[in-house]
């Protein structure tokens, strides 16, 4: 009996080694970032230093905003709890380095998707959570109502390290207007300088203008001009080279948008499990194996909808109800005249 003990132990050891090896390689196959996130127990998310409606912290340090909700959705999907997110406020200048160096795993910081960013610097854009465009803000008292009234010598306050700086040059150049760019590192400093009268106009994405306007001494003294001078599709970004993690973030965002399309909200999500529509059932984890490919369980999308809500809820809570941009404009579903259109979850 004991004669074979030695062989038996070595066999057990071998099986154990093999087994560890296989589980290990499967986990590794899932995604390194996913594995690390689950080990740490929180999602590391890079956000802005304070942009109302997108990512903004209150006095108690609670982050809210549509950009914040993308990270919360990912946390709900991979960790089961939308609150398990560690937010890192980043300046426009720091954001990409923070992501590529591995300090954060998702950059959800009103970042414009452009070819050079996507292709050059080790980043991958996963989608668009806000369609924006650059605009100008001026003082009402200046009497300016259109950018066609801009004259030579105008000074424009803006942020460094953004597409804004480049669009501004294209805009003024194509119209042959000489201008003085005054570029700050932090948005708060831009607003302070413009508010003090240092600049005649303040230019950034229109959503940003609307949000920053609420921070000014007297918001009613300022207007945002109607012209939009650029396309600014803003969306979450991940590091290049982890396609599973990229898919998780992409489909977390898509789930929120598609849930709105099918009328699934945080309050009715559970009852939708018994819906007749198979598309709805897939979105709440009641049909198909929608999580397996990501290495997640089947209710990952249900958790997103229950804990964070659909895109419409997020927009209403963060942007419409706060008075920043009550009108959804292009950020309405394609079925309602907007351009929000995501591939189907199936």
């Amino acid at each position: 009996m004991f004669k074979y003990l030695k062989q038996l132990t070595s066999l057990v050891a071998m099986v154990a080694v093999l087994f560890t090896f296989t589980t290990e390689s499967m986990a590794a196959k899932k995604s390194k970032t996913l594995k690390n996130t689950q080990k740490k127990g929180f999602v590391r998310c890079g956000v802005s230093q304070g942009l109302p409606g997108f990512s903004n912290a209150d006095a108690a340090g609670n982050w809210t905003g549509v950009d914040v909700d993308v990270c919360r959705a990912v946390a709900a999907a991979v960790l089961g709890d939308a609150n398990k997110v560690k937010f890192t406020p980043l300046s426009a200048k720091e954001r990409f380095t923070a992501l590529t160096s591995g300090e954060i795993d998702i950059l959800s910081r009103n970042t414009t998707w452009t070819l050079s960013r996507d292709a050059d610097i080790g980043l991958t854009f996963v989608g668009v959570n806000f369609y924006d465009g650059q605009g100008f803000m001026v003082r009402k008292s200046s009497g300016i109502t259109s950018t066609s009234q801009f004259k030579n010598g105008i000074s424009a306050c803006t942020n460094i390290g953004t597409t804004t700086e480049l669009n501004m040059r294209d805009f003024f150049n194509s119209r042959g207007i000489s201008y003085e760019p005054v570029a700050f590192e932090k948005a708060d400093e831009v607003v302070a300088a413009y508010d003090a009268g240092r600049c005649d106009t303040y230019t950034t994405d229109k959503s940003g203008l609307a949000a920053q306007r609420t921070k000014m001494k007297n918001p009613d003294e300022h207007i945002v001009l109607p012209e939009t001078i650029s396309k600014e599709p803003l969306g979450p970004v991940v590091r290049q080279g982890d396609s599973v993690w990229e898919d998780i973030v992409r489909w977390s965002l898509n789930t929120m948008i598609e849930a709105e399309e099918y009328g699934i909200t945080s309050s009715n999500a559970d009852s939708m499990k018994t819906s007749d529509n198979p598309q709805i059932k897939r979105l709440v984890g009641a049909e198909g194996e929608m999580g397996a490919a990501f290495g997640l369980d089947n209710e990952w999308n249900l958790r997103i909808i229950k804990q964070v809500g659909n895109y419409g809820e997020s927009y209403k809570r963060n942007i419409a109800d706060t008075g920043i941009l009550p009108d959804r404009g292009p950020n309405e579903l394609w079925t309602k005249g907007g351009i929000l259109y995501v591939p189907p979850s199936r």
Binding site: T100, E165, P181, V182, R239
Partner: protein
């Protein structure tokens, strides 16, 4: 043999350790950049920058290259450093001497200034001057003219521009004056050494530097006129001055805060230098009949300078490096333009940060070399 190994062993190990650490970091960076699909290279420097800069000493706009943007930033850094060093030195020397004044009020005021400004973080001072003090300035349309020709407004200081005719003749006249002064000085030194006679070099020099350029106006056909800034309306309530030279408020705030801050340290160096010269020296000088001015010029200052120069060099270096805080208030220095905007637009973090670090290093070493040369020049020459 054994002795030799003991001698070079530690040095060798240090060198190997340093090489290994650098090698590890380089390798690590390479592997990680490759994994994330980031290219390494300095080719971007010749690409079109496509962003504009507020304030530039050389001709620049977005159609120029990133390298030119780098030069713009570098020159702006040098500009604010030179202005800062110049003002800080004058102010520092004045305050340093004032601290030794027997007059109670002057003495205490200087002491208060030093203690106040050197104990508040520089960044806060920059914010104060830019966001608090300059914000109180009037809008262009409300500005009172200074001497009828200059305007200090929230959008900057607007001063008249010089418009020269035959500027080269004026320039040559100044060069001629400087050459003449050098010749006279050498001659005066010789006369004093051989005959013991003194020639009033200073008076002659001042005369020359004024009279020669003046002659160029009278008979050389040089004309100077001023282009005074004129108020221009951009919109109902928005104005700007056109013509003349405009100094952005960012430059003014930065130069002001850098010099006010650094002057406190220079003042302390100057005070230490003067106090470091023995009392006996002054008394001995006075006893051989030198006048008060001669005592200061010939006995006290040459010795005090030896104490003052080395720590003051450090302050010059600090000021130059501190100028990188410009980024906080939108002054387009090297850090804001190159390590800020250019880095963001290209994503070449390692390349740009390394160039920027190397540039600051070169700037600091140049200042340091110059000051060392000056220090050696005034040091005691052992005979």
């Amino acid at each position: 043999m054994n002795f030799k190994l003991k001698d070079i062993g530690p040095q060798l190990m240090t060198v190997i350790a340093v090489v290994l650490v650098f090698g590890f970091f380089t390798y690590n960076a390479q592997v990680n950049m490759e994994n994330r699909g980031i290219d390494f290279g300095y080719g971007f420097l010749s690409q079109e920058s496509s962003f504009d800069v507020q304030f530039s000493l050389i001709e620049y706009d977005g159609s120029h290259s990133y390298f030119r943007a780098y030069l713009v930033g570098l020159l702006n850094t040098i500009l604010v450093s030179v202005i800062g060093i110049f003002l800080a030195t004058i102010l520092g020397v004045l305050v340093g001497i004032a601290r030794l004044s027997p007059n109670y009020l002057i003495n205490k005021f200087a002491a208060f200034y030093v203690e106040f400004f050197r104990n508040i973080p520089l960044l806060l001072q920059i914010f104060f001057w830019y966001f608090a003090a300059l914000r109180a300035l009037p809008l262009p349309q409300d500005a009172e003219a200074m001497f009828g020709i200059s305007f200090l407004t929230i959008k900057g200081l607007f001063v008249p521009a010089f418009i020269w005719e035959n500027f080269n003749i004026f320039f040559y006249s100044i060069v001629a004056a400087i050459v003449a002064i050098i010749v006279i000085r050498t001659h005066a030194k010789k006369v004093q050494e051989t005959q013991g006679k003194q020639i009033p070099v200073l008076l002659i020099s001042i005369g020359l530097i004024f009279i020669l350029p003046l002659l160029s106006f009278l008979i050389g056909g040089v004309r100077l006129s001023f282009e005074v800034p004129v108020l221009k309306q951009l919109a109902t309530t928005s104005f700007i001055y056109e013509g003349g030279v405009s100094l952005p408020p960012e430059l003014i705030a930065l130069a002001l805060s850098l010099s006010l801050y650094t002057a406190t340290f220079i003042a302390e160096c100057v005070r230490a230098g003067i106090q470091g010269v023995g009392k006996g020296q002054k008394e001995a000088a006075a006893s051989i009949g030198l006048t008060q001015n001669q005592v200061l010029k010939l006995v006290v200052m040459p010795q005090a300078l030896r104490i003052i120069i080395p720590p003051t060099t450090n302050q010059y270096l600090n000021l130059t490096k501190n100028s990188s805080l410009a980024a906080a208030i939108a002054y387009p220095d090297l850090v804001l333009v190159f390590a800020g905007t250019a880095l963001m637009q290209t994503g070449k973090a390692i390349e740009i940060v390394s160039i920027t670090m190397f540039t600051y290093l070169s700037l600091s070493i140049s200042i340091s070399l110059f000051m060392n040369w000056y220090n050696n020049k005034i040091a005691i020459t052992e005979k």
